[in-house]
Symmetry: none
Subunit: 180 residues, 4 copies
DNA sequence: GATGAATGAGTATTCATTCAT
DNA sequence: AATGAATGAATACTCATTCAT
């Protein structure tokens, strides 16, 4: 059993549920059944642990986007992307919650600022690759609007409305972008 | 000089910039030039101060939405709403930052849960009033999509991209909804 | 009962006996019957407490040197100074121990560097005032030699030899300087 | 490359510069490019390492004092001793700093108490051997005064005055003892 | 001889809150 | 209404030491 991986796994869950600042390392250690010193040993500090988690999540995101889709049309790629987004949003709420927390909270945003920039640049580039195939002149704005729309959906689903109609929104959005 | 109002003003700014948990009351007091005891006296606790601020902000939002627009068409109302949203987003970043923080952070969301529900229900109702005039059958989903889109824009503008093309997005969005 | 003064009194004793780094604030607070938070409140930090103590000690030293001795000859002034030094060395070992600790230990020396400079400059100036009356050409070296000699005696008495013959040394030194 | 010797060398330097308590073994290991376990293996504990260093230094001191000087007069021996002291004080500040630290700091003094006694007794005996040749009746006091004077000079040179006039003090002291 | 993961006690510091004045 | 001394629980972090390999 790798305690380092275990710590990352448990800390991710706790930081998502409770927020970074509201999660003492003592709780992380308790849940992971390790001593406090081990976090120092592996991650240097609480901030170090946070950065490690964020990096791992970015790697996951990049990995998922590296499927070869060169045989699909732009609209098919958009559809694939949307299906994947909504599927994950439902199945891995925790990670979306984590990402929202970290980017919105001033403190964590500062700790992660370079990593956030890296990741969001990658995402923009990926989405823009698709919109470029439709119309290079409008791709920047459309990419930003697209990303913002999905982020807003995640935000409202996870943090605002108890009865957010996610499935209907999914249909609505997909229809909109396919028919485009 | 009303120290109570002064405290609310300063605390709002600080909670926005630094986050709630990362803003000790000592800093609030220092900036407001008052003693620690005074916060207890006026707001009972730090949570009490936070709720007070959130309530004030909700009142502001409600006030702004109570302009009589019965003489406008639905699409004109949408346009007015969007213009107002983008104008405020640029001129009062702080308050948007504050709202995002409070809703995303698990801890503050818990403290404010009833107030968040109240406010977001009000917003949904207001927007839905407009979309009902276009098509009652789709108004719920469209309202949610509309709100999510704006929230996502605020999120990306304030917390993700340094060079978010806000003005172009504004044009893009308004065009989209007006032409609808 | 002034808890602030009490804290300074007790911390001085403990830092002398155990050294600064080897004296946890928990022990200071326990002995003083106050909470840990009170040290933060009054002195900001452990370093702040240390500086406060050092400053108070410097004030004591300066006070003692401000007796008017203009009616005494230089050699009489030296004798007075030596008598006073040996008397205090015996009666207030603690404070000498404290001063030695703080100046020799790299860590505390760094924390107090400005204050140490201030104090040692004052002492040099005071001693040199006397030696100037004997011979201005040699006063700098003689003052330094004089101060070093006394510091060395304190060091050997307090930190090296269990059976240091302090009284005989006193007679020896006084004879030497008077006969000069 | 003998890692044991390397560790002693590096630890001596670090304990001198930073003080014993303020030098974590982690720093020693890092500088020496060895693992933490190795210190335990070689020296059992941090205190063990300290004692080892102190013992080595004492051996150095004893060695230097065992030159045969039976053909010199007492005053010549004193002069030799003083020349050697001042030369070393300038060339090996670090070791003097180390010795001062260890003897003044209550914690290290306790750890080394037997070794300190041994060494200082040896030094007293050595110096007294010389003063005995001048006058056995006063040799004890004069030896103590002599040692204290040199310690005081080291203390003031290393830990008090930035611009301590070491060379002039040297001339002053040597003149004093030779002319005696 | 040598490594490095793991421990756990220890420590300074932070901070919301209370309360006498 | 307003102050500020005082509390005490909470928290991140340090660090010597142990031990399996």
């Amino acid at each position: 059993m790798d305690k380092r991986e275990e710590l990352i796994r448990i800390a991710t869950a706790l930081f998502s549920e409770r927020g970074f600042e509201n999660t003492p390392l003592s709780v992380v250690c308790e849940k992971a059944n390790v001593s406090k010193g081990l976090i120092s040993h592996h991650f240097k500090s609480k901030n170090g642990l946070l950065r490690e988690i964020f990096i791992k999540t970015t790697e996951l995101i990049i990995e998922m986007n590296q499927l070869d889709q060169s045989n699909l049309t732009a609209h098919e790629q958009l559809q694939t992307l949307l299906e994947s987004f909504f599927a994950q949003l439902e199945s891995d709420k925790m990670r979306f919650q984590f990402n929202l927390n970290m980017m919105v909270q001033p403190n964590t945003r500062a700790i992660l600022s370079d990593l956030i920039k890296e990741r969001s640049d990658f995402i923009l580039k990926s989405v823009r690759n698709i919109f470029d195939q439709i119309d290079p002149n409008t791709s920047l704005v459309k990419s930003h609007a697209f990303i913002a729309e999905l982020d807003g959906i995640a935000l409202n689903y996870l943090a605002v409305y108890d009865h957010f109609p996610l499935r209907k929104i999914k249909t609505h959005i997909i229809t909109k972008y396919i028919a485009q």
